[in-house]
Symmetry: C2
Subunit: 406 residues, 2 copies
């Protein structure tokens, strides 16, 4: 966890304001859930490995000395959220009567994970999620991708690439490779490690799942055949490779492909794209950018999660921007225009404030600062603090404004 200094916060405010401005135009409305959730809900199994990283909160009113044999878990009733998706499922179950269908949700806020300290990983970090709840068609997928590409473009990330896959496709791929449906999650986990362990590692681990060398070859060859497909060939090649795939999966791929083609953007079908969470049920997607080794946004459809607390299926699809990664990528490009009113000793406070008030009329940032030390040194400090101009305020009035050369 770390402090955000003024420059950090200004950059983040600028990025967030640009992203949320775009999302709002698509109809996404901001909601907010509390940072603390019931520990049982956080441990419901949908958080995968994140459930091991929960900051746990003690029940209130416990005695100062714990009885022998007390289980640690019995002392805890709340935890800090590790993502914005699990809280969203509770939010929707609690508030659905007051929400439209489809409901376009925008969430921006901190989440907490008790990670071991390492470079680029924070224990408190921001997530920025949009979700469309109640829309069964790939209108959701298409719009989420379009809106997120537009949001990234608004902050200057124009050269992005979208990668697309489908969990239903991956399940069929696993089945065709000889992996029974109930073990397909294991296949996903192995494939998801491709970036880290390479094809040799994937082959070894697939063999570990009980596949024969022939089955491993068949699976990896299928994946190779489905890589780098043009949009025009996608439907045919996927159908040929996996004849058992239901037609709607192909139709959905074609519809999303048409949206991506319509946007005139760089994209690819990626049969090795898995994404970590277990709850995805349909299309999954990621966005990458030249400056970043890992993806800068990711999401997908998860039709069985939102309805969990409602006892019925509720279609849903979400996209999450890796906010911290983007901020790191952009650096600190925001500067401010600020005028320093350097007040000489003897000037009455009310007079200094009145001069500054006048100067603020046009909307400028104006700070009143007491004169101290050598003028040259103070002007250098003002420059370093981001001031762009200054004027001297004496007992007989203000002296002409001058620029601070940077």
């Amino acid at each position: 966890m770390r402090d955000l200094l003024p420059d950090d916060a200004a950059t983040r405010d600028h990025v967030l304001s640009a992203i949320t401005g775009v999302y709002r135009q698509f109809g996404y409305q901001r909601i907010e859930t509390p940072a603390l959730e019931d520990i049982a809900r956080l441990r419901s199994g949908e958080g995968a490995d994140n459930e091991k990283l929960i900051y746990e909160v003690l029940r209130r009113g416990l005695p100062p000395v714990i009885e022998e044999g007390t289980e640690l878990a019995s002392l805890v009733d709340l935890g800090l959220r590790y993502d914005l998706t699990v809280p969203l499922t509770r939010f929707y179950a609690n508030n659905q009567a007051q929400l439209p269908t489809p409901f376009r949700s925008l969430q921006v806020g901190p989440v907490w994970r008790a990670e071991r300290p390492q470079k680029g990983r924070y224990r408190q970090f921001y997530q920025c999620d949009i979700d469309m709840i109640g829309e069964p068609s790939v209108l959701a997928e298409g719009e989420l991708i379009e809106a997120t590409v537009a949001a990234l473009s608004a902050i200057g990330l124009d050269e992005v690439t979208v990668r697309l896959s489908d969990r239903r496709f991956l399940s069929e791929l696993a089945a065709a490779a000889g992996i029974p449906a109930e073990n397909s999650a294991g296949f996903f986990v192995v494939l998801d490690k491709l970036d880290k362990i390479g094809w040799d590692g994937v082959r070894t681990e697939l063999a570990g799942l009980g596949l024969t060398p022939g089955q491993v070859d068949a699976a990896t060859e299928r994946i190779a055949a489905l890589t780098d497909l043009t949009s025009a060939k996608l439907a045919d090649v996927v159908t040929d490779a996996l004849p058992g795939l239901r037609p709607e999966v192909i139709e959905d791929l074609a519809a999303t492909a048409a949206v991506l083609d319509g946007l005139g953007m760089s994209w690819a079908f990626d049969p090795t794209l898995v994404r970590g969470m277990g709850y995805y049920t349909g299309q999954i997607f990621e966005i990458s950018s030249p400056g970043s080794a890992s993806s800068i946004a990711g999401g997908g459809r998860y039709d069985n999660l939102i309805g969990r607390w409602l006892g019925r299926g509720v279609p849903a699809c979400g996209f999450s921007i890796g906010f911290e990664r983007i901020v790191d990528l952009l650096g600190n490009p925001v500067s401010r225009e600020a005028l320093a009113v350097l007040t000489e000793p003897g000037v009455a406070v009310a007079d200094a404030l009145a001069v500054a008030r006048e100067l603020r009329q046009g909307g400028r940032v104006v700070e009143v600062i007491g004169r101290s030390g050598k003028l040259g040194n103070q002007l250098k400090r003002l420059e370093a603090a981001g001031f762009t101009a200054w004027l001297s305020l004496r007992e007989d009035g203000p002296v002409e404004e001058r620029p601070l050369h940077t």
Copy 2:
């Protein structure tokens, strides 16, 4: 703790944006500290009663069953912050080398207090604080009050009143009443209860502090004499009533009075204003508004707190807006202009998204929604969801836009 629905979040975003826009013009820059702080720092004694309301976080990696005689406190290393001031003291100590003097800090964010549930009290709520660090003169007090009055005006709260007092004045008042300096905190606590227990209660409790009936009379008569003073008489009457008061206290009061007079606003010196926290060292102030029984903003000078972790005095002065109170006061005045594109079955997703994209060019909020059920009912639902216009999108293209009458 509660969820914020889209209307709630929109109102809060509107209010925050207006307030921070004003504060930024005065040169306040947003910073952010983590929600979690070391439990020892949160329990350092400056949080007064709030220290009893901390959400405590378990250490990570504890064994699942507690050993005999384990103290609860030994299981805890972090806590959720209960205000933004204690974290600010750590922030300044850690980061002062990178901060200008004076440093104008703006903090907006949630704090947590494990309060018993009651109407209008939340366990997670937002605070909005500005602080000027490193400015010893009442330039800080005057500007903080001016900026906060301007911020409240920007959200439509124009009819506010400022109440002003000074802890140095209150200490002298206590001394003059016969209370030794080391017990003046007790005097403040009693006077602070005036709203709740009335003058009779105050008299009884002052007697309980060991004052004779004559001393109690002298103290309350002094306070009565100092109530409802005009700005012109303030310095003279305070000097007469408390001849032992140091001249700079009077000068500071006169300087802040001149600022408030210069703003042409409603204000009063209030000898019964105390404010709860122990750390104030100079002027203290509150702002009240006709619609709210309690004050909507409060603050003061606290010269001994920021330097606590630095081993030296650092002058500081802060003002905190009661954000939740203000939002409750304003209601939900924000509405949105949104166009619904009602898409008939059979329209390709890519086409629907392209039509919406075109309509968004001018900056409008445009949502794509599938046609479903009876049109009249769907239009009613759209109205209820805040849409102001709609159009029908058919396979042969869009039909003319129409307003939704509300």
